[in-house]
Structures are given as C-alpha cells and as structure tokens.
C-alpha cells in the first residue's frame, strides 16, 4: 500500500465528510447524531494518519516522504503536491489528535450543531493541509482556507464581544498572509525557472538583499500567527471570546502553523537572511516570554490569562529557531508539540470551569476545588505541566531550547548570558501567575456568592477522558523525549547543518558589503507567456 495517497486521504476525508453533513443530518436540530458522526470521522481520520505514519514514514530519512504530486492547473504550473518530513509529520499527528479531542470537547454544543461540526471537520482537513502541502501557492490557499472556519466559529459561537474579536482575527491574519503570497510569488518567479514547489524553491539561491526583504515579509505573516510581540493583540481577544473547542484548536494547532512556517520558509529557504535576523528573533522571543508572562499575571479574566501564557511559551520557539544548533531547533519543534498538548488541556479546563461557574473573572471564583475535586486535580496537573515541571513535556522542550541556545556558536557569551537570564526570569514568572490563578480559582473557602446561584458539579467522565488523553503524551514525552525527537531528528539535523555551513561561510568571508540588489525583469516571466 505504499502508493496509496495517504496524505491526500487524510486531508480530503474530513472535508468530504463535512460536505455530507447538510444532506445526512438535516433534521438533527439537537446535534445528538451529528456529533457522533463528526467524532467517528475524526477518529477514523486519526487512525488513517497513525497508520500512514506507522507504515510509510521512515524516521531516519530527512527528506519528504509520503509524497504525492498531481498537476492541478498546468498553465500555472500549480500542483497538488503533498508530503511530510520530520517537521510536518509530528504536527500532522498533533493536529489529528487535538482536533479529535476538540470535537469530543464540543459535545455540549446545541446551537446550530450541523454548521458547527461542519466547520470543525472542514478545519480538520484545512489544518492538516497547511502542514502537508509542498507547494507555495497551495500553502497560501490552505493557510487562507483554514481561517474561514475559525472566523465563523468565533463569530457565531463566541462570547459577548465575539464580533469584534472575530473581525480582528480575520483582518489581522488575512492582511498579514498577503505577505506570504507576495513573498511566495517573488520566490517562485525569481531566477530562471518558475516553480511553486517548496523543495525547488529551497534549492534556489537568492541574493541577500532580496532574502532580507522576503524574510521580513514572512516574519510579519508568521509573527502574527505565532504570535510575536507586538503583533499578538488579536490573540487575547480571539481566545477571550472563543468556546473551548475553538480554543483548543487555536492554541493547539493554529499557533504552531506560525512556528512551522518559520522553520520551513524563513530558516530553510532563506538561510543567509536568517543569520542576519536571528538576533532579532532571539530578542523578540525573550520579549515574548517576559512581557506576556508579566501581562498574564495582571489579567483578571481567566481566558485572557491563559492566552497570554500561550504567547509567553511561544517565545521559546523563537529562541530555539534562532539558536543554530540541532538541539535548539529540536527544542523549538518540541515546544510546539508540547504547548499544543498543554495549551489545549488548559483551555479545555477553562471551558470546563466556565460551564459550571458561568464567569471567567477570577474575583468571582474561589474555593471551587472543594466541590470539584477532579477538576481541581486536572487543573493542578495541567498547570504544573505548563510551568515546565520535570517529567512533563514542557520541561524537556524548555531545557532543550536553553541548552541548545547556550551551546550556540553564533552569539557571544554576554548576549547568551543575558538572554538565558531574562528567559529564566520568564520561567520564574510562569509559576507566579499560574499558582496565583490556581489559588484564586480552587483553593481557600468557597465563594458564597458563587455557590448561591451556580451548581458546581464535578467533572464528568468525558472531560476526565479528554484530559487523560492529553496528559498521556505530555508525561510520556517528559519521561522519554526520544519518543518524539526521533521522529524529526533527521530533518532538524539537515536544517541545522545547512544553517551551519552558511554560518561558517559567512564567518569565513566576513562579508559586510552586500552585493547590490539587481532590479531586472525576471526571465521567468518572459518564459511564462
């Protein structure tokens, strides 16, 4: 079955299944049947992905695997081309996993269930497409496509300020993704051949000036998604208004697209520019960590607090990407996977708590743990995972980034010490806001006002199951990180060695003067007709 189009199946199956919903479930207004349908589809897709991974994926191969290529629009040389290497594969699996759990988390949705599950399944395919496609134009399409369901889920099922948040989200991400199109087209048309294929673009060599421009464009686009300070302000609003399943997808997967694309495009395609931009990335990473941690501490709204903690954790991805070491880049990938799991679990718990207290303001909670023992235990465990306790995945990722960065040969010791110190301050701030949050929600005597009008029921088995599913990989990775790192080691090694050669070249030449940026008509356009 090696020639079976696995990735295409994984992408298209949920989308096709979603298209059937309006036909099959026209009368299911309570959503009791459609949710089972969606869950079944999700689980089947996850199983397909797992099987494809098991059968067709070779750990030691750093190149693209499970490749499929069909010409789509031959005039444009646009191809339906998908494939997975070490960067994509773990994220594809993560996507399947988190989305399946998100559908399970969406169990209580009763408002327009058909539309909701339709959007969830469409998201499912769209997200995987972003990680799997190997064609620049296709990537842009997938990137845009997956924004629509998020927008609608936000705008229809969100909180009180959902329209503001959804509009902000769509404007921010759609505008910034124009840079992807712009930079992507430039790269495709540059040189003697027109190609949208990512690996062919990677093989092209661009002059430094152009690289810097392209890099800046991509950085803006992906900086919004990751998010990087100061392009992050859509995130607290979007998260603050989203429902739990949307949260899980936003934090668990959508943020990772930014990190994935940064490594795939900025680092791999534009290594010279990356060498120049890396210090900026490190600084932004540190700012992310410390700034967002401090801001999170001051938030009184639970969702916003966790949203800022996501921003803070993404700072490590930036530092890892800019470390120029295998360990650092592995750490960045690890941090994405780990935060995907931990972020999803925390946001799910926020939803869980909100379902009972019907408030997100910390001042209106207190002593909730006395009635909700299981919720208490889950909150504590997931918070501990988030603050990088050893034995959980967050710790592994952060240590990898720290060690990778401090072993880097691209920076001078003073800079490294400063960065590590400031990042450590951020790591100290994490327990400050998380433990204070736990104290305010769960510990202490019960809040009389809250208990008067809300019934605090302990977690139901479905909720425990979701958290347990997330905790198994979190703890598993914490104890045995090789489980995941071996999946992408070969690829990060390839990326790093390429970077290192460029770095050595640059150091050897020590070129301060940059060849001037030639403006000439690309021969490719003439050839295109």
């Amino acid at each position: 079955m090696t020639n079976f189009p696995w990735l295409t199946t994984i992408i298209l199956f949920p989308i096709a299944a979603a298209l059937l919903i309006p036909l099959l479930f026209r009368n299911d207004s309570s959503g009791k049947k459609v949710r089972w349908y969606a869950l079944t589809v999700a689980v089947i897709d996850f199983c397909i992905a797992a099987y494809a991974f098991y059968e067709g994926y070779d750990f030691s191969n750093p190149d693209l695997q499970l490749v499929e290529r069909y010409t789509w629009v031959s005039e444009l040389n646009l191809q339906w081309s998908v494939g997975a290497d070490g960067l994509s594969m773990p994220l594809i699996l993560l996507t399947c996993f988190i989305t399946t759990l998100a559908i399970l988390a969406a169990w209580p949705v009763t408002f327009k269930p058909q539309l909701f599950y339709f959007l969830m399944l469409a998201m499912y395919g769209g997200q995987i497409a972003v990680f799997a496609v190997q064609d620049m134009l296709l990537f842009f399409l997938a990137w845009e496509l997956e924004l629509v369901p998020v927008y609608m889920i936000l705008a229809i099922w969100g909180g009180k300020k959902r329209h503001y948040a959804a509009t902000k989200f769509i404007l921010y991400t759609a505008l910034s993704s124009l840079f992807i199109l712009l930079a992507g087209l430039t790269m495709a048309f540059y040189g003697d051949t027109v190609t949208f294929d990512m690996s062919e673009i990677t093989a092209k060599h661009f002059p430094l000036n152009l690289q810097l421009l392209l890099y800046a464009g991509f950085l803006i686009a992906y900086g919004v998604k990751l998010p990087i300070f100061p392009l992050h302000t859509w995130l607290p609003d979007a998260h603050g208004e989203a429902t739990a399943p949307a949260h899980m997808l936003l934090a668990g997967i959508l943020l990772k697209m930014g990190g994935y694309a940064l490594i795939r495009m900025n680092v791999d395609m534009l290594p010279d520019a990356h060498i120049r931009f890396a210090p900026l990335l490190v600084i932004l990473g540190v700012v992310n960590i410390v700034y967002a941690a401090l801001t999170s501490f001051a938030q009184r709204n639970l969702k916003r607090k966790i949203a800022y903690s996501s921003i803070s954790h993404m700072g490590f991805v930036l530092i890892g990407i800019a470390s120029f070491t295998d360990l650092g880049i592995s750490g960045a990938v690890m941090q994405m996977i780990s935060h995907g799991l931990i972020g999803a679990s925390l946001f799910f718990l926020v939803g869980c708590t909100y379902d009972r207290t019907h408030t997100l303001l910390l001042d209106e909670m207190g002593g909730v743990g006395q009635k909700m023992k299981k919720v208490f235990a889950m909150w504590t465990t997931c918070s501990l995972a988030s603050l990088a306790l050893p034995g959980m995945s967050g710790f592994v990722a952060e240590v990898m980034v720290f060690v990778g960065f401090s072993n880097s040969n691209a920076y001078n010791p003073t800079f490294k010490v400063l960065v590590v110190f400031l990042a450590a301050v951020g790591v100290i701030l994490t327990p400050i806001y998380l433990l204070s949050m736990l104290r305010e929600i769960l510990y202490g005597p019960e809040n009389k006002k809250l208990v008067e009008h809300e019934e605090l029921v302990d977690a139901e088995p479905r909720e425990v199951f979701i958290i347990a599913c997330l905790l198994v990989p979190i703890i598993g990775i914490g104890f045995y990180p090789k489980m995941v790192t071996q999946m992408y080691d070969a690829t990060t090694l390839r990326v790093t060695s390429r970077l290192q050669t460029q770095l050595a070249l640059m150091k050897a030449e020590n070129v301060a003067e940059v060849p001037p940026f030639e403006v000439k008509k690309a021969p490719a356009i003439a050839a295109l007709k």
Partner: protein
C-alpha cells in the same frame, strides 16, 4: 560488582513511585468500600521493600568502589543528555536513610492522619516525595538531580497544600513553591552554563572537569553562585528561608520528612557540586557568608517563636547553614556528617512534637505545660532528640563537631565561635521549649492527655533508639562518609579547647534556658529594647514584610503596567489603525457623487502622479 541487588539499585525509587501510583484507586474515590487504609498499607509495604533492597545493596557494596549506570535520555546531534545513577556506599547509605526515615514517618502518619478523610491522597504524595528523595540520593546526573529537586518542590507544594481549604495553607504552599522554584531555575541556568562550558553533566565527572577547566574566574564565580541558588532555596537559607517556616502549615508527618531529609537533599546536591566551587573563591565565600548569616539569624528567630513547630523549623535552617559553611570551607565529609546527625535528631524531635499536637490539637507552646508525666515516651523522644542536636552529651552532633575540629585541615577561631553561638542558642531554645511544654503546671489544654497510640509510639521509640545509637556510626565506620582520616593534631590550642568550649556553650545555653523567666501569657515585655528584639525575632527580622514591599510589589506593579501598555498602547495602536480605516472610508464616501467628470479627474491626477513617480523614481 555484578550483584543483582546492587545493579538494580535504581529500582528503589521506583518502588515508592509504584506505591504512590497504587494509592490512586483510593484517592480518586474508585474504591470506597474498604476506606482509605489499604492505600496506606500498600505504600508502607513498598517503602519496606525499598528499605530491604537498600540495606541488602548497602551491605553488598560496602567495601567496593562506586559504579555508575547510564541511560541516554535525550540525544541530539550536538549533545546527549544522559541520566546516570551512582552507586556507592555513600549514595546507597543516603538511599537507606531516606527509605528508613520515610518508613518511620509513614508508620507514624498511620496514627497521626488517622482521622483524615484524604489519607490515601496523603500516602500517595508521601510515596511521590520519597521517590524523588531516594532518586536524588543515587542520581549522578546534574539534570536528573535538577529534575528531582523540582519534583521535590512539587511534592512540597502538594503536601503543604494538603488541607487546601485553609486560608494560610494556600499562601504557604504557593510561597514554598515559588521560593524553591526561583532557586531551582537559577540552578538550572547554572547547569545549562556548565554544559556550555563542556562539563560532562555528571557529578562523577565534575572533579576531573574542574581540574582541566579553562574557566576565567569571573565566569566561575557567576557559575558557582548560580549553582548555589538551588540548594539555597531547598535548604531554606537566607534570603530564601521563609518558606520552611510557612510550610509548617502542612501535616506533621510530612514535616518530619521536610525538616530532616528534604532540606538535606538540597545540601546533598550542594555537596556533590562542591568541586565547582573550588574554581571560585567568591562562591566559596558566598557559601560561608550565607551559611553564617542563616545560622545566626535563624538561631535567633527560633528563640522568639511560640508555635511549637516553628521553634524547631528555624533551627533546621540554622543547622543547614552550618552545612553551607562546611561546604564553603571544603570540608565535605563534615557536611555529610552534619546532615546525617541533624536528620536523625530533627526527625525525632518532629515526631515528638507531632504527638503533642495530635493529642492537644494546639501548637501554641504558651498554652502547654506539665506533659512529662502524661507522655513519657514523647518526653524521652524530645530529650534524646535535643541531646542529639546539641553538642553537650556525646551524641550525634557532639561527635560531628569533634570530628570537624580534628580533621586534616586548619580550622579557625571564628568557626568555633559560630558553632558555640549556634550551640548555645539551640540549647537555650530547646530548653525553653522543654520547660514550656513538659515542665511546670498542666494548663487547661494539657490536663488530661494520654500517651499516643502504638502507630505513633513505635516509630518514635525506634527513632529514639537510633538517635542514641547514632554516634556509633562515625566511630565504627570512620571512612564511610569521609575518605580522610582524622588527624590527631591535638596539640593545636584550637583543637585542644574546642570540645570543652562547645560543651561549655551548650551548658551555658541550657542554664540560661532554665533560668529564663517564662511568660505564658500573651503579654509582651515592658522594656522597649526587649520588646523590640522579641518582635524582630518573632517576625523573622521582618523579611516577609521586606519582600512584600520590594519584590512582590515590584512584580505586581510592573505586570499591571505591562497589562496597561498592552491594552492601551500596543492594542490601542491596532484599534487606531482600524478606526482610521473606518473613518477615512466614511469620509471618502462623500466623494461618490455620481458625476463622471469627477471620477475622470481623480483618475487623471492619480495616473499623472504615478507616472511622475515612476519617471523620477527609476532614475
């Protein structure tokens, strides 16, 4: 050494972990019919296994060199992080001490926590605690040790927060976690730096790395200071000392562990890191200064406390301060001995006061009295524990200090002064507590008090016997903890007089303690200066207030400022862009008049401008 028990020594921490996991059905409420007791029995059984395995391994490895077991944990192209385990008489001995005290503490908890609904959860946490501690005892890898220190931090958090509905507990648990976490993270940075400088990240390689290391002294200083920070928090040393005091809100059986072994775990890591401190005299001085400050300050604080647990917890900090001094001076074997003697004596003392708290449900020493005839075993335990802690009678601490002054190194007079000071105040404090609690007339709350039941009495009496036998250990096996033989340089004046002076200081403390006028009421002294000092000591030198006014305030206000910035400046800019767009759209719509000429004019002007720009721009 291919002995099975030695080779599988790494299983010992796993036993406790299994015990901890086995309690889950009860603590999660899956099994209700049996009550929570089976969880406790299972955990005790696993600890017993750990104890037996440890002692067999100890006897097998006794006269053999240490060996390492290595397990690659994380591999990247440019770095491998491996977890390794060091099996030597010292580490297995530490393992055995942990398992032993943990077993006694858990047995004790069977009585102490009898009425608690969450007994299973408590035992689960204790098992977890013990697993981390015993893992730490045999760990040879810096990363593993760091990770286990963090797990200890976590279990302290969970155990202190055990009675989570009480308001004081909440802040205590949080503070304990945060304080230790600060130290831990700085330690982690130190370890990361070590790895960047090419150290092998295992304790056994540190020594050889240090000998060949090319570190400049400035770097070595920072490195040393960073590495000190972790143990500093763990051992409740100034300025990270407050958590231990607050942690006394937790259940007492955990307090037994915390004050004896957990603080020692931090010091144990410090001792293993000692080769690095040799690189930097400043780091060594820092150790000595911190240790001295804590030893003096905490001894003073202890004297003014009226909460029975806190009278002892401060003295823990003080003794660990002495360990810091010993490590700073490079007297590693003395540090081991200090830890050993202190751990046994302190856990006994905590068992003794635990019995009192259990029986009279009160921790205020001013409301106690006359317990000696009612609780003889408890009284004996307190007396023996105190004697083991104070250098008066030839018990643990006495021999340790004798050894300190009789090693193959030079000792200076200030050290003797420090020891005399700590010894005198410690003796004074213990005598004071003894008089308040056990002597005098019974108070309303202590009038009808029985001796505790067997689950608490058995471990207490066992530990009493162990404390009495404790001094036998350094006599029988002088080379176990210290590779260097005592030197017999008795002709030096400091060596000749040291023991006499220390005993004299202890006696002085006892005498002053007995002569002291005790106030049972809450009334405070009338003399202003006396009142000032009492408050100063009782409120821990106002360190907590100082923290609140500086660091806590700073973090809170900076974070508020950041949140404000984020909301009104960063996000404000974004919203402004939106507003401008909407507004300009609104304004421009008045241009849509429907007159064709106007459109043509606009287009013409725009094209003209573009043409001009491209014309000049391309030149």
């Amino acid at each position: 050494m291919n002995d099975v028990f030695v080779q599988t020594c790494w299983l010992v921490p796993i036993y406790s972990l299994i015990g901890s996991v086995l309690t889950l059905p009860w603590s999660l409420g899956l099994v209700r019919r049996t009550g929570p007791r089976p969880a406790a029995y299972l955990n005790l059984l696993m600890t017993l296994f750990a104890c037996l395995h440890g002692s067999i391994a100890l006897s097998r490895i006794w006269n053999h060199p240490s060996q390492q077991l290595v397990f690659d944990w994380l591999q990247a192209a440019d770095l491998t992080i491996s977890l390794s385990v060091d099996i030597s008489p010292v580490s297995v001995g530490a393992l055995e001490l942990v398992a032993g005290i943990s077993f006694l503490a858990q047995l004790y908890a069977l009585g102490y926590m009898e009425k608690d609904w969450s007994l299973a959860r408590f035992y689960g946490l204790m098992g977890f605690f013990e697993a981390a501690l015993s893992g730490l005892a045999i760990s040879d890898s810096l990363f593993l040790s760091y990770a286990l220190l963090e797990v200890l931090t976590l279990s302290t958090y969970l155990l202190v927060g055990f009675w989570y509905a009480q308001p004081l507990v909440v802040t205590a648990a949080r503070d304990a976690f945060l304080t230790k976490r600060v130290g831990d993270i700085i330690l982690l940075m130190g370890i990361v730096a070590l790895s960047a400088y090419g150290a092998g990240l295992s304790f056994s390689e540190l020594q050889s790395w240090v000998e060949t290391s090319p570190l400049p002294s400035g770097t070595a200083t920072w490195l040393g200071l960073a590495l000190i920070a972790g143990p500093l928090g763990k051992c409740a040393q100034f300025p990270l000392n407050l958590w231990l005091d607050e942690a006394m809100e937790g259940p007492n059986p955990a307090g037994i562990m915390r004050n004896s072994i957990v603080v020692s775990a931090g010091a144990y890591v410090l001792i293993k890191l000692q080769p690095v401190f040799i690189l930097s005299p400043i780091a060594e001085d820092a150790l000595i200064i911190v240790g001295t400050i804590t030893a003096i300050g905490a001894s003073l604080m202890a004297v003014a406390q009226i909460d029975i647990k806190r009278t002892l917890s401060h003295s823990t900090s003080a003794y660990l301060g002495l360990v810091f001094v010993a490590v700073g001076l490079g007297h590693v074997d003395i540090a081991f001995l200090l830890l050993f003697s202190h751990a046994i004596a302190k856990s006994l003392l905590f068992m003794s006061i635990g019995s009192i708290i259990y029986n009279i449900t009160n921790q205020n020493v001013t409301e106690m009295g006359g317990l000696w005839s009612r609780m003889p075993a408890t009284t004996t335990a307190f007396v023996v524990g105190s004697a083991g802690l104070v250098g008066v009678l030839p018990l643990g601490m006495f021999w340790t200090w004798t050894r300190w002054f009789n090693g193959n190194w030079a000792v200076s007079w200030w050290l003797l002064g420090l020891l005399m000071f700590v010894n005198a105040l410690s003796a004074l404090n213990l005598t004071r507590v003894f008089r308040l609690v056990f002597l005098g007339d019974p108070q309303p709350k202590t009038r009808r008090v029985p001796e505790v039941g067997w689950p608490m009495a058995v471990p207490m009496v066992t530990l009493t016997a162990m404390t009495l036998l404790g001094p036998w250990v350094p006599q029988k096996w002088p080379y176990w903890l210290s590779a260097t033989a005592p030197l017999g340089n008795a002709e030096l004046p400091i060596v000749r007089y040291s023991i006499a002076l220390i005993v004299a200081s202890g006696l002085l403390g006892c005498i002053v303690g007995f002569r002291l006028v005790l106030r049972r009421a809450w009334a405070r002294p009338l003399k202003v200066w006396l009142r000032f000092f009492q408050d100063l000591f009782a409120y821990d030198f106002y360190i907590e207030k100082a923290y609140n006014l500086t660091i806590v305030w700073a973090v809170a206000s900076i974070s508020k400022l950041m949140a404000w910035l984020d909301r009104y400046v960063v996000d404000g800019a974004v919203n402004l862009v939106g507003l401008v767009t909407v507004f300009s759209g609104q304004a421009l719509r008045y241009n849509v008049t429907g007159r064709g000429q106007f459109y043509v004019l606009t287009i013409a002007i725009a094209t003209g401008l573009l043409a001009l720009w491209s014309f000049f721009g391309l030149n």
